[in-house]
């Protein structure tokens, strides 16, 4: 939490320097951007000088010196062409620079999601995370592009014009320099005003996305309850809040342009008056004055642009802060250098394990369990008793608060997570199908599987027949909300595990949405598969776990009974009650 707070307070300078660090691999392009912006800015500056010189040879009737004008014009054309070429090159480089930086940023942010503890994912609204990865990064992209393009040319132009002006006439140049700070002051004041509003705006956008994600993602429930009006009202509340903040943010940022342009106008007027006075006194030529006037324009233009960029950057910074906050959230405890778990036999031991999601609400307390290789352990108990939590701990999705879990004598905290998890085959009640073909979905854990292996796994999971009936068979593209039923999704998830054949198995209500006849067949397949393998099974249909070596009966985070089916029935306790309730008449 502390970390989060300091992130949102991160100064603009820090944000900028961090963003710039992301451009490091592309220093090459950065350098080229700089060089080409210098060249193109110089060309843009030099053109008015040439134009001024040419105009000076156009004096009056019969007083135009074409011989002198011609070479100037040729020079002018060369300068303009060179400038244009470099301008394009600069555009090209900044574009690459920005797009690659943004890509890296996006990938870094996403990669972070694969490294954070599950707790982060479980407790942060998904819509907000999506908004960061999509919208916020887009905003940064716009900001950076503008920044790179205009900041460099802007600064180069300002410095260049000053030099040119001083070289022509010092006193007029002084007028220009004196007015400059005004425009800078104006721009920075406005930028400060904006940054707060932009932050609010980005936050609100995140909220809007989160809300949309929740309601659009669950439209079916919304429809079932005729809740459309209510969701719209809620959406509208956020929406109008966003409007109020948005108008302010946009107006404040839009102040910069007219304000700096006004300062420009003053500079222009100043140059005009002083220049004209000087010309009257014979200090400069009319051509020089015309040239000066275009400088006055040239000189102030970048201020305009820079100030515009500064507000754009404020918006980008607000988004960057949100991205960095995400990137900086704590990783899972590193397992680098940990042992790789190999040749797993499947002796699993829980030693005085305690765990709770919230410190003030203990869930699992002092749980000890010794599972021998090849045993099948069933976990039963009323809902909410902590069955799924045990699985979270076995897989190290969450770490135990106290006590330890070991596999073949290795504390699971001392081995790499990947090697631990790969030794378990896990099927959960909540199915997960990603957008891709059926084949890709089944081969998720083993991408190099042959078609034959995939089909065999599908057959074992009894989904071959329905897959064959799909439009394109195994090549049908499916996604989480496409036409296949919940039960079929579960079958696919089972096929996934059937294909990888890991040494240990976790089935958490793995067949809850599957009809019982298919389930029976799958049970058989599981039985064949788990032979000699340690397996953990959570199930409500007690008939499916009758054959387990050991049944843990849990209640309120503790094991209340342990034994096999017959023993427990004979005992006439909690389990017997649960079992008999199946046959109770209602």
């Amino acid at each position: 939490m502390k970390n989060k707070k300091s992130q949102s307070d991160m100064s603009s300078f820090k944000v900028l320097s961090r963003l710039l660090r992301f451009t490091k691999p592309y220093t090459f392009y950065l350098v080229f951007t700089l060089i080409s912006s210098v060249v193109s800015a110089c060309a843009t500056l030099y053109a008015p000088v040439l134009i001024g010189q040419a105009v000076d040879y156009i004096i009056d009737i019969n007083n135009v010196d074409f011989d002198k004008i011609l070479p100037i014009i040729i020079q002018l054309i060369i300068v303009v062409l060179t400038g244009a070429a470099f301008q394009w090159f600069m555009g090209y480089c900044t574009n690459i620079l920005t797009q690659r930086t943004v890509r890296d940023l996006r990938v870094t942010a996403f990669n972070k999601l694969e490294k954070v503890p599950l707790k982060y994912i479980d407790t942060t609204p998904h819509g907000d995370i999506i908004s960061r990865v999509v919208t916020d990064i887009d905003t940064i992209s716009d900001g950076l592009l503008q920044g790179f393009q205009q900041l460099f040319t802007g600064v180069v132009t300002i410095v260049g014009t000053l030099c040119f002006m001083i070289s022509i006439n010092v006193s007029i140049a002084l007028v220009v320099i004196l007015i400059t700070p005004v425009s800078l002051f104006v721009a920075s004041t406005i930028a400060r005003l904006c940054s707060k509003k932009f932050k609010e705006q980005a936050q609100l956008r995140g909220k809007v996305t989160a809300l949309a994600e929740e309601y659009i993602g669950n439209q079916k429930v919304v429809k079932a309850f005729c809740y459309e009006d209510k969701t719209e009202q809620e959406f509208e509340n956020l929406n109008s809040e966003l409007y109020t903040v948005g108008v302010k943010a946009q107006f404040y940022s839009a102040l910069t342009n007219p304000s700096t342009r006004f300062v420009n106008g003053l500079v222009y007027a100043g140059v005009g008056i002083f220049g004209a006075m000087n010309a009257i006194g014979g200090g400069i030529s009319v051509g020089q004055l015309s040239c000066f006037l275009s400088y006055a324009n040239q000189y102030t233009k970048p201020f305009n642009e820079i100030s515009g960029v500064i507000t754009e950057l404020q918006s980008a910074f607000a988004s960057a802060r949100r991205i960095f906050a995400m990137i900086d959230s704590e990783d899972e405890v590193s397992d680098a250098g940990n042992k790789v778990l190999t040749d797993v036999k499947g002796n699993v031991r829980l030693d005085d394990v305690s765990f709770s999601y919230l410190p003030d609400r203990p869930l699992i307390q002092h749980l000890s369990l010794d599972v021998k290789q090849g045993q099948q352990i069933a976990i039963v108990g009323p809902t909410g008793c902590g069955k799924t939590t045990i699985i979270n701990l076995l897989m190290r999705f969450y770490d135990t608060v106290e006590g330890s879990i070991s596999v073949d004598g290795n504390n699971i905290k001392d081995v790499t997570r990947d090697s631990l998890r790969l030794n378990y085959g896990m099927v959960l009640q909540e199915t997960w199908i990603f957008k891709g073909t059926v084949k890709e979905n089944i081969a998720y854990g083993k991408p190099d599987a042959t078609d034959e292996e995939i089909i065999n796994a599908a057959k074992a999971a009894h989904c071959h027949s329905f897959i064959k009936r799909l439009k394109n068979g195994y090549d049908t593209v499916i996604s989480d909300n496409s036409g296949i039923s919940q039960g079929q999704k579960q079958l696919l998830c089972i096929a996934r595990v059937m294909l990888t054949m890991p040494p240990m198995l976790i089935l958490d209500e793995a067949t809850s949405s599957i009809d019982t006849r298919t389930e029976l067949k799958i049970q058989k397949a599981f039985a064949a598969m788990t032979k000699g393998k340690t397996s953990f099974i959570v199930a409500h249909r007690l008939s499916t776990i009758k054959g387990a070596d050991s049944i843990l009966v849990m209640d309120k985070g503790k094991i209340v009974e342990i034994g096999n089916h017959e023993e427990l029935l004979a005992k006439g306790g909690f389990y017997a009650e649960l079992y008999n309730s199946q046959f109770k008449k209602t």
Binding site: G91, F251, D480
Partner: protein
């Protein structure tokens, strides 16, 4: 893009006045070079310093007025563009709410969300630019041209040649880049899709240790976006340099031909400078136009995507005004020769379904995975419309009902237990604002959720995280059941919604529903023969067709499929015993 103009209706004043003020400012800007020409031609030529000061003051006044007008315009642009975005977001959200399941399945949530957020943001920017700059830039260009005519008709021909050239370049660059931006938006959809999949499936990804694979998948897509953006940028970057070359060559022409004119005494030096200045002004205006073009091409792509949603019409349409006369003596729900297909390829998910359910009955639907159970009940609240045949509730075809009336009569507990972020009470009140705490407690009790709900730290005010992540699967299911019961519906549909409950709870739940909701017609989809067997009527589905309808006892004798299902769950002795029990 023009289709979306209607969302600006409320901001007509801002949309018209904004550019007007901007134009006024632009007029002033055009006058500035004229005043300057006067200073040079009159002030300097006559050595009249008083005149110079006077004209200088005019310049400052022009600046101040310009500032005021610009600020007004900016304010109007902010209001109109943000307002536009707000209205558009509201309407789009509203429209999405109206779409039926079929269209939602097709468009997909992640894509809808990017359209609602990122695409609309893009359009918002475009509107602001439209008001601020679109009028100004062409005006400056045309204005500068007209001014050039007042100075010298011959030389102004240069302006006339330059402008179409510039327009051509703009047109070329725009048409070349629009397809790229469309692709980029589409790829952004994919970004959001992958992110979403990885959030939802975090456990599966980690269980298979596929983090690196997912990272690669995401990186590939990000790479794609980068490449497309760079390609688009390469073309966009041409715009300014080409225009700069055209305009500078025009300046060269002005100097050269202007030189002849001055030599011939048709033009003064000051006038040549003014012409050059005008050309410069066009150049500056075009820099702005170049930015605009990029913004507009991007937003044209976004507009197309937003319009695609608006153009998607719900396949299931509401008759909000219809008055229906229900028949109390008619069956609560009746299916008559119902066929249904998800796709229009003639492959039926349901075929020739006919059965009737009397009020107060409990009806169970049982069948294999993918046999069409959920599809069948989805037709009752009209989540989908039957392809042919009819479904009536209380003697009236469901298509006659206003959605609200129909759906308020039906309490649905979906297979996937979904809860929303908010308090427990908020979630329970989904059925209607008039649901009291008492109703909620009663519903929780029936749904067997009272014991753990009471234990929640803040009771009904306890916060539930998005998706109910702080609850177990069984707790979520019980709460979704309670949510439906709190609505006190005439028809309750439980779509395999007790799958995460243990048998004892499940059986208590059914008893409680029976006792407390006597008049309720209850549909239960279940895999558990035990749940099913006490129902008044059982429908056995197989591959979208009805295999049998009847009571447990009847079906045991007549329906082979049903027997198999029961056999898979009870031992044959248990089953035998039951048949005997029944016969006693």
């Amino acid at each position: 893009m023009f289709k979306l103009v209607r969302f600006l209706k409320k901001y007509k004043i801002q949309v018209i006045l904004g550019p007007v003020f901007k134009l006024t400012e632009a007029v002033f800007e055009l006058i500035v070079p004229l005043v300057m020409a006067q200073i040079i031609d009159v002030g300097i030529a006559n050595g009249d310093s008083k005149y110079v000061w006077k004209m200088g003051a005019v310049l400052v006044i022009l600046g101040v007025c310009g500032l005021c007008f610009a600020l007004i315009c900016q304010y109007m642009a902010s209001k109109a563009s943000q307002g536009f975005g707000t209205e558009l977001r509201r309407e789009l959200f509203h429209h999405i709410n109206k779409l039926s399941h079929k269209e939602l399945d097709e468009l997909g949530t992640p894509s809808l969300i990017t359209r609602l957020t990122s695409d609309i943001n893009q359009l918002q920017v475009a509107v602001a630019m439209l008001i601020r700059l679109v009028v100004r830039a062409p005006f400056l260009v045309i204005g500068a041209t007209i001014m050039s005519f007042t100075i010298d008709i011959k030389l102004s021909l240069i302006f006339v040649i330059v402008i179409p050239l510039v327009a051509l370049v703009l047109w070329l660059v725009t048409t070349k880049t629009i397809p790229f931006y469309k692709t980029i938006q589409k790829k952004l959809d994919k970004t959001s899709l992958i992110t979403r999949e990885n959030l939802v499936g975090a456990r599966a990804v980690r269980a298979f240790s596929k983090q690196e694979h997912e990272q690669r998948r995401f990186a590939e897509n990000a790479d794609d976006i980068e490449k497309t953006a760079v390609r688009a940028g390469k073309i966009s970057a041409l715009l300014s340099p080409i225009n700069a070359v055209i305009l500078n060559l025009a300046i060269v022409a002005i100097i050269w031909f202007g030189g002849f004119s001055v030599n011939a005494g048709e033009l003064t030096q000051g006038e040549v400078i003014a012409l050059v200045n005008y050309m410069n002004q066009i150049l500056l205006a075009l820099v702005v136009v170049a930015n605009l073009v990029v913004i507009f091409t991007k937003s044209a792509a976004s507009a197309a995507r937003v319009n695609e949603v608006f153009d998607t019409k719900p396949s299931v349409t509401d008759n909000p005004e219809n008055v229906v006369n229900t028949d109390k003596s008619a069956p609560a729900v009746e299916f008559k020769n119902v066929y249904f297909s998800y796709h229009d390829n003639g492959e039926y998910a349901l075929e020739d379904i006919s059965f009737a359910v009397q009020p107060g009955e409990t009806i169970c639907i049982i069948g294999g995975t993918g046999s069409g159970k959920s599809t069948l009940i989805n037709l009752i609240p009209r989540f989908y419309d039957a392809t042919s045949g009819s479904i009536s509730v209380k003697g009236v075809d469901v298509k006659e009902y206003p959605f609200k009336l129909l759906r308020k009569m039906i309490g649905v507990v979906p297979q996937k237990a979904v809860l929303f972020s908010g308090t427990l009470r908020d979630n329970m009140k989904w059925g209607g604002e008039n649901i009291t705490d008492e109703d909620i407690n009663q519903a929780l009790k029936v749904a067997q959720a009272d014991d753990f709900a009471e234990k929640l730290p803040d009771g009904l005010d306890s916060m539930i995280l998005q998706g109910g992540k702080n609850l177990s699967g069984g707790q979520k299911q019980r709460l979704t059941i309670a949510r439906a019961i709190a609505l006190n519906p005439e028809i309750l549909i439980l779509d395999d919604s007790a799958s995460a409950l243990d048998f004892a709870t499940d059986s208590r739940l059914r008893t409680a529903i029976k006792e407390n909701c006597k008049d309720m017609t209850v549909f239960i989809i279940s895999q558990r023969a035990n749940t099913v067997k006490n129902a008044d009527k059982i429908v056995v589905l197989s591959d979208g067709k009805i295999e049998g309808v009847g009571t447990h006892r009847e079906l045991l004798k007549s329906c082979e499929e049903y027997c198999e299902i029961c056999l898979s769950q009870f031992s044959s002795e248990e089953l035998e015993k039951e048949i005997n029990d029944d016969e006693e």
